[in-house]
């Protein structure tokens, strides 16, 4: 497309966006939803399968209680009502990575419904309505080989791996979110971030977007102020927090350019492209499959005992928002400082770094400074920048022990991010430790004095400030590994100043 997109601030001045998010979470249960096969990621294709998750003739599903429990806990954490009685339903459509050619899901009787999640954006609390939380099964994965693009068109063979088939999947659907204006992309990102944190605090999933255990579809529409909501599109393949924000923004810009030109938005599924940051159309919803939902006759209804639900509610862990408030107090941060920590996605990283022995101030300095800069440059999430909290704490320990100065520590950190090893290993292997041997330093100082007689004379005559030039020379010969303060003292002592 060669259309020039309008400027974002112009778009939000003319149109009001409405967004909505559907999130799929693979639960971290030990076994699959309907059988005893293990759920762990990886493994040779089709090694974690049995007659049930392969959908062989005659096999039957039996619901995994741990998955039902996890779903109810998610519902409770999202302030939902829990159904007293509900059923699974079959969603019928043909696809080779779906062994039975129907997906066991939930239709008009979700396990959890009518909740909300509060998220903070620019210090403001935005309440996101939760429409439903339901339980279903994941599909297998199809790999198209032989084609130029790895896509189905032009492929000579399609290979299916059913290891993922039948892994419990929870779908969390928000109500439409109007009224966020220019902040819509950030609200979307803040919601998914908060949801991820809630899910992690519950321990129900490893919520790794890059491995697909947390997957997000983003609905976006635009309308003129005061007018009815516009036609929405559903953007799939949004696989990182950053992409959630980018996808909303990109879709707002695209829709605005269509509307500006007098066009109409087509209700459709679109695919987000990480590389270009824009979306392209998928299948049109107007010709959507009729899924022929009906209650799953192979499974009995779920009727959670209210006493059990009450027990689960009472045993919920401290949720991230409250947890963060406690951390802010413990770390002694202002609201503004805490907000910058949040914006950087650094709360848990700093918390873990502090737990590994660093002071809150030092931990914050590394994560918000050097590492955030790097993450921005390379376009990755801070957590994926390449350094772990334990490594950062170890690095700070070396600084505190006087073995590294600030500049050297940054060099070591580069090595850590590059995967060269632990901070101590890198310091040793690259010979970066601060030179504290005064004998070696004295030789370097004498050499600098001899090489710069004019400056030495100035210092001798009392112009102590000139010492800086000699310090620089010594630091150069010691490749920055000397402690600048020690060098300065040695120079002044040598020249009797």
């Amino acid at each position: 497309m060669t259309t020039t997109l309008p400027a974002y601030d112009e778009v939000v001045a003319r149109y009001e966006p409405v967004i909505g998010l559907e999130t799929h979470v693979e639960l971290g249960t030990n076994t699959k939803m309907w059988c005893g096969c293990p759920t762990d990621f990886g493994g040779e294709p089709n090694t974690r399968v049995c007659p049930v998750c392969l959908g062989l003739p005659g096999s039957l599903p039996v619901a995994n209680k741990a998955a039902i429990e996890a779903t109810i806990r998610i519902g409770l954490a999202l302030n939902c009502s829990i159904a007293q009685w509900c059923r699974f339903a079959r969603k019928n459509y043909f696809y080779p990575d779906m062994p039975k050619n129907f997906q066991i899901s939930q239709y008009d009787e979700p396990l959890c419904f009518e909740g909300y999640l509060d998220v903070e954006v620019n210090g403001e609390t935005v309440r996101i309505g939760i429409e439903r939380v339901h339980l279903e099964e994941d599909t297998g994965k199809t790999l198209h080989v032989g084609g130029a693009t790895g896509r189905i068109h032009g492929a000579t063979e399609s290979l299916v791996d059913y290891n993922r088939a039948g892994i419990p999947l929870v779908e969390i659907v928000t109500k439409p979110i109007p009224g966020t204006g220019a902040l819509a992309p950030e609200v979307a990102r803040a919601y998914v971030t908060e949801l991820r944190d809630v899910l992690r605090s519950l321990g129900v999933s490893d919520v790794r977007m890059e491995e697909g255990s947390l997957r997000c579809d983003v609905n976006t529409s635009l309308n003129l102020p005061g007018a009815e909501w516009g036609t929405r599109t559903e953007t799939k393949n949004v696989n990182s927090l950053r992409s959630v924000e980018r996808a909303v923004r990109s879709e707002m810009l695209r829709q605005a350019s269509v509307l500006d030109a007098g066009g109409r938005i087509t209700q459709e599924t679109r695919h987000f492209h990480e590389d270009t940051g824009d979306t392209t159309p998928g299948r049109s919803k107007e010709t959507a499959t009729d899924y022929r939902y009906f209650p799953e006759p192979d499974l009995v209804p779920i009727a959670p005992d209210p006493a059990w639900v009450a027990e689960l509610k009472a045993a919920l862990p401290e949720l991230p928002r409250l947890h963060r408030r406690r951390l802010q107090e413990a770390w002694g941060l202002s609201d503004l400082d805490m907000q910058s920590v949040l914006n950087a996605g650094a709360v848990e990283l700093i918390e873990a770094t502090v737990a590994a022995g660093a002071t809150p101030a030092a931990a914050r300095k590394w994560w918000l400074g050097e590492l955030s800069r790097r993450a921005n440059e390379t376009g990755v999430e801070l957590a994926d920048v390449g350094a772990t909290p334990a490594q950062v704490a170890e690095l700070q320990g070396l600084v505190d022990a006087g073995k590294l100065n600030d500049k050297l520590a940054r060099t070591v950190l580069e090595g850590v991010v590059a995967g060269e090893g632990t901070p101590t290993e890198i310091m040793t292997n690259r010979n970066l430790e601060v030179v504290s041997d005064t004998g070696a330093l004295t030789a370097a100082v004498d050499e600098a004095i001899a090489a710069n007689p004019g400056i030495a004379d100035k210092i001798r005559s009392g112009k102590v400030a000139a010492a800086g030039a000699l310090v620089g020379a010594v630091m150069k010969t010691t490749r920055g590994q000397a402690d600048a303060k020690t060098v300065r003292e040695l120079i002044l002592a040598r020249l009797g100043a």
Binding site: P51, L56, G58, R292
Partner: protein, 491 residues
Amino acid sequence: MTDLTKLTAVEIAGLVASGETSAVEVTQAHLDRIAAVDGRVNAFLHVDTEGALAAAREVDTRRAAGAELGPLAGVPVAVKDVLTTKGVPTTVGSKILEGWRPPYDSTIVQRLRAAGTVMLGKTNMDEFAMGSSTEYSAYGPSRNPWDTDRIPGGSGGGSAAALAAYEAPLAIGSDTGGSIRQPGAVTGTVGAKPTYGGTSRYGLVAFSSSLDTPGPCARTVLDAALLHEAIGGHDPRDSTSIAAPVPDVVAAAKLGATGDLTGVRLGIVTEFGGEGAEPGVMAAFNEAVDTLTKLGAEIVEISCPNFGYALPAYYLIAPSECSSNLARFDGVRFGLRVGDDGNRSLEEVMSLTREAGFGPEVKRRIMIGTYALSSGYYDAYYGQAQKVRTLITRDFTAAFERVDALISPTTPFVAFPLGARTSDPYQMYLADLFTIPTNLYGGPGISVPCGLADGLPVGLQVMAPTMADDRMYRVAAALESAVGTLTPPVL
């Protein structure tokens, strides 16, 4: 020497236990019988000679070692080809599964092995259990040993024919709308549909999940009860399986065999009389009612006003579920694959496979079910049928407040000639008119021989409340004690 194939299961087990004969001898006798007559009966789709003899040898070895044998140890059994058998072909009577050897045993088959029975092979059936004559089998129809130009009933006609032809003393069937009871009736054998959830569906290739019920077939009521006891009971791999002990059906059959039904109240369903059934069938049924009265039963007439809607409700619910259950037969993971020449799309291969692999009746039901579940029609068809199902359940519940069990003819007509009803599906569907209400309700039903009409067997159906399977065995055994078992002309 005794002809081992003419004995009941109880007699065979006794001879094996006492050492008067061996399980291998019994098995060989039945294998010989199959070899001699099955060319004319076509009861079996697959005979597992080696597996059967190995199982028999194991029973003999265990007996020799002094192990305690169960009440059916060493008794041969024929298994309807709807149940998965590990390593043994399982076709469901369809071309789409031709040659498929399942990697796992169904729960029923596991329990048969655990009971020391000897599986002879897999029996013929209407494709995916859809039919009442075995004429919809992709492998040719089975024939009724009473008259080989007539149908043996269906869908489990192979199992019933195997019993009537003395090819096996016991058989397993599955009953979705009458597929155990109607073949039992037209072959003069006993067929029982347990309470839904009383026998495990794990490994039963699904036709209609909310109706399918595996169950026992035999030549006597007591044999059927013993087989019921062996295969019944809770299975954690079937979540619709009932977590309660199997009613004591064996004790009930023995009690019934004393011929005393004093204090038992039986209801005749008034809606099942009249023009729906052949006069010969009604005559045999009425005579059986007199017999039951003489045995001490109190007979009352009971109206079940919604039973008239059972057939149309069934022909929405069963096809709807089947349209979804049969979606997995797509050529991707098992069974037939057609058109995979490297040029066609996956969708085309799936479509060609299903086109070639399914027969006309299966396709008809998939299409009806797909339509009934589709958006905009669901409420009018599937939703409405479920409401009718609730009304039928209420009819049963109300009836069982007044009587212990309900009785009716099992099927409106005796075995009809091959080809007589294949051109009009509705005429075929009518064969299950009296058996379908029980499936919609989920209760147990049994067919027991009650006499002959024009030289062909007629069955009487006893229907009991859910989880009261013992009641129907008592009534059936009492009738059997008075009428006797029907002996088909030996082929």
